[in-house]
Symmetry: C2
Subunit: 116 residues, 2 copies
């Protein structure tokens, strides 16, 4: 079984490169911690196997929350809400991570999304 | 003591937004795992306290490796080397994380760097 983590990033918020990088990093750690507490063998295998990950984009807030609702029923997901100190309103949801989890199961939900 | 994680990103590699986000995410998890194994109280305090992080830029490979050599003597750092499947040569060092660690101690090394 291949394990990966997917990060779903909103592109409608006009975030700069550094902001996007920080939010993705936040999502990655939150997702790792969540999976570690639920099934540490998956999290460890992913971490030690090179941490395969993909960053995907989604263009609207509506699609973003719809996808989150669907995926989280089957796979551990972690939403990032920005503290809003710089570019965004406090509490703005910027991205979420899926997994680390079985790659094929993630693909069922994300196969139509494009790489950021 | 405020705890944060800094991610130092090279800007001389012409990486796209998605690439930068993936590398930053990788560095964040590697750094978290490293600090967790060395002093779990720091890693847990950071993670539960909102994961403060900053993403900083550095313009040349020389400065990048010089900074890494200096910082890692005092603070746990984690270097990311790209697998090179897409935009970069295999093994290219793209970024490294510092900490999570005492924010003031990180600032001693990074105060001259600008936000990405």
């Amino acid at each position: 079984m291949e394990i990966k983590q997917a990060i779903i990033m909103r592109t409608d918020l006009d975030m700069g490169k550094g902001k996007i990088a920080g939010q993705a990093a936040h999502a990655a750690v939150l997702g790792y911690v969540k999976v570690m507490s639920r099934d540490s063998s998956i999290a460890e295998a992913w971490e030690q196997g090179g941490q395969k990950k993909i960053v995907l984009k989604i263009a609207t807030e509506k699609e973003f929350f719809e996808l989150f609702s669907q995926v989280k029923r089957e796979i551990p997901c972690a939403m990032v809400q920005d503290a809003g100190m710089t570019q965004l309103e406090p509490g703005t949801a910027t991205c979420f991570s899926i997994g680390p989890w079985d790659s094929a199961q993630i693909d069922k939900f994300t196969s139509k999304l494009k790489l950021l």
